[in-house]
Symmetry: C2
Subunit: 210 residues, 2 copies
């Protein structure tokens, strides 16, 4: 019953990609099944947590057997939208934009890169990862016409906010934002802010405390 389903906590959601990675590896190794205990040892978490996490989605295992690797992997893919083939565009064709465009991980996870935009006249027309860089002024229309799902924002801080505003009602569903700003979720657009240096600074903190 939907009405009784508990909302999946954010902490659990953030663990799902990690499960996906491990299950994907097990599958590539040809493993057919795995128990929560075996997986817990591999991942360095408790078996209890694994079972609890999966049970937010109804549970993917079988008593006495464990989890079928292929089945669990398929279910994780479904949950994470990997099977949806979400369309993405990159806004900002700098080094980071290039790195993401050329990164095979996007394709592997079902994302379809279908456009790259920049405002630099020098860059427009050049090709990155087989895709021609277009003028950013056409981004809004492109997204609307092609039903693009996610915009990857790899722009300088000062350009990001106005670009986000421009794209807000284009039909875009999510921003994956790499700039030094925290975009707020605008209406119906989910925002995932990535602050790369935050992670470097936690590392630095730990080194510094020692």
């Amino acid at each position: 019953m939907d009405i009784n389903e508990k909302k999946v906590p954010e902490v659990v959601v953030r663990r799902l990609p990690r499960y996906y990675r491990y299950l994907d590896e097990l599958d590539r190794e040809g493993k057919m099944r795995i128990s929560s205990t075996a997986l817990s040892k591999k991942m360095g978490v408790t078996a209890s947590q694994i079972r609890q996490d999966f049970n937010y989605f109804g549970g993917f295992g079988q008593q006495g057997y464990g989890y079928n690797v292929k089945h669990l992997l398929t279910e994780l893919k479904k949950l994470l939208g990997i099977t949806k083939g979400y369309k993405v565009v990159i806004i900002g064709a700098g080094n980071l934009g290039h790195a993401i465009a050329n990164y095979g991980g996007l394709k592997k996870r079902g994302f379809k890169l279908c456009g790259i935009f920049d405002s630099d006249k020098e860059k427009i027309g050049q090709k990155v990862g087989g895709i021609e860089i277009s003028d950013i002024s056409g981004a809004r229309e492109f997204i609307a016409e092609n039903n693009v799902d996610i915009a990857i924002l790899t722009l300088p801080k000062n350009e990001t906010e106005k670009v986000a505003e421009m794209l807000a009602d284009s039909g875009i569903k999510g921003f994956w934002n790499f700039s030094y700003t925290e975009l707020k979720s605008i209406d119906s657009v989910f925002v995932e802010n990535v602050h790369l240096t935050d992670s470097l600074m936690t590392l630095s903190f730990k080194i510094n405390q020692r």
Copy 2:
């Protein structure tokens, strides 16, 4: 008393860079002081959490006044090692390596980029962000001789583990790892694994659930 000091929880440590970002912004805006309540509204957290977090480090405020922005910022910088001027090298001069080398955020946070290494003969000798790319075979010695603190690993998955092994006892203190592997903390080397697509997948999950 050291003996009574509670270990700072990981969740608190991971919030520190965010405090740093907000305080840095307040300082740049010329704000002299801020109360936990005002900051809590800006950041979208509770004032209680802010005060609790800072009190793991003894508290940086003054009753009846709030927090002096410059003082709090200075303390955060000290905690995060920004004042230490940690030396970093980049191992892997692909797009991501380039992006990080050219990113001003490292310098801003006091990190000193002092070397870039790659195994590709074509790349060796080229300059990135004013630094010449060196042969990766010399990385270990360079780190040991120059007391490099952190190695940023932007290599393909298959090369990362053996490079990490090679550098393990060079005196390096931390790995900031971007490859599709989870490096385990080796002895005295802290590891911060960055899985960029994990964050994209949580975004994708949310879009998918809607």
